[in-house]
Symmetry: C2
Subunit: 201 residues, 2 copies
């Protein structure tokens, strides 16, 4: 696994970009996180379980997705370095989840258990603000995604994804990109064909 010190440094930088948390306050919460190596294709969460963790990714890339009755995968989120990933509903309510979370590459994460979630705001009140700000950013990004899904064609949504998350598009397979966009791999292949033709002409 990655040096644990480096993993916490990444988390601390992430917090400091968003709040003025002191080093002392941050150091109080490090004991609440459990570092974990997640091998490629290994699951952090499977359908039917209760989601026990918030995960902060320090290396690699994970995804959350569902599988429908006909076996189709639908990717909700990619989580590369410095992203959080979880099923918040299952995590907060202890209801069983409908989601899977697994690693697309060998990854390292810092896990925060539900029991620690209760404690973290008492130990370091600035975390309340940190998570509020994270959720605000997520609110804005997810609403933009909803707007795209109700107002744009598949090609336009793909272009938007290329612009907003170019590194993700390079990193994961087109099958996964298609799943994230809500189209078939065949449709994405044809969109890409059209786009290269238009660039050449």
């Amino acid at each position: 696994m990655q040096d644990v010190r480096r993993m916490f440094d990444l988390l601390q930088q992430h917090v400091l970009k968003r709040t003025a948390m002191t080093a002392e306050e941050f150091s109080l919460v490090t004991a609440l996180f459990v570092p974990k190596r997640v091998r490629k294709n290994a699951y952090l969460l499977q359908e039917g379980e209760v989601c026990k963790y918030l995960a902060f990714v320090t290396r690699g890339c994970l995804r959350s997705y569902t599988i429908d009755k006909s076996g189709g995968e639908h990717i909700i989120q990619f989580a590369p370095e410095e992203w959080w990933i979880t099923d918040l509903y299952s995590f907060l309510t202890a209801n069983s989840t409908e989601y899977f979370i697994d690693a697309l590459e060998e990854s390292d994460v810092l896990l925060l258990e539900a029991a620690s979630w209760e404690k973290i705001f008492a130990v370091a009140p600035t975390f309340e603000r940190y998570f509020r700000i994270l959720l605000q950013s997520n609110y804005i990004a997810t609403h933009r995604r909803v707007l795209g899904s109700i107002s744009l064609s598949a090609e336009q949504r793909y272009i938007q994804l290329l612009e907003e998350y170019p590194s993700i598009v390079q990193r994961v397979t087109q099958r996964h990109i298609a799943s994230y966009l809500g189209i078939t791999p065949e449709a994405l292949s044809r969109i890409r064909l059209r786009m290269t033709k238009e660039v050449k002409s």
Copy 2:
């Protein structure tokens, strides 16, 4: 306008369902809110402006939406009683908005200005928790909506909306429901036709 006392009672109930804020703490923030009547079809926000308010709806129903280049409306959110509505991105960054917010019915709202947003967490720290919890709920609901948009047919999304927000579906026109679902009014009309036929058969 509605009795202002009643408007704050509604907000206080909403806060108390989510946090253990004391009556004293709540009373400190009431001065930061401005009650406002919004007439039917009146705008709270228009494209190009900076969004100056968070609005808590105590009566009536508002919506947020965009208008694309070809003049099509795309509804992001409905906000009936006890819902918050704003363009969070414009509100937080002071960039100009691409959204419209207007009233579908005569409505009453409590407005919180950006300047007050700076103050409210200092005056009443429990509001940090309240908004974090609101944003958590929104995270869960919006991700469910994204999942629907990438995995369900228009008919299934309509059924999901009927199940989750039956009161909204009764309250707004089918044109608006269609806009929220990302389909045309014609398509929704045919979906409804199909559904009544299937019930009868």
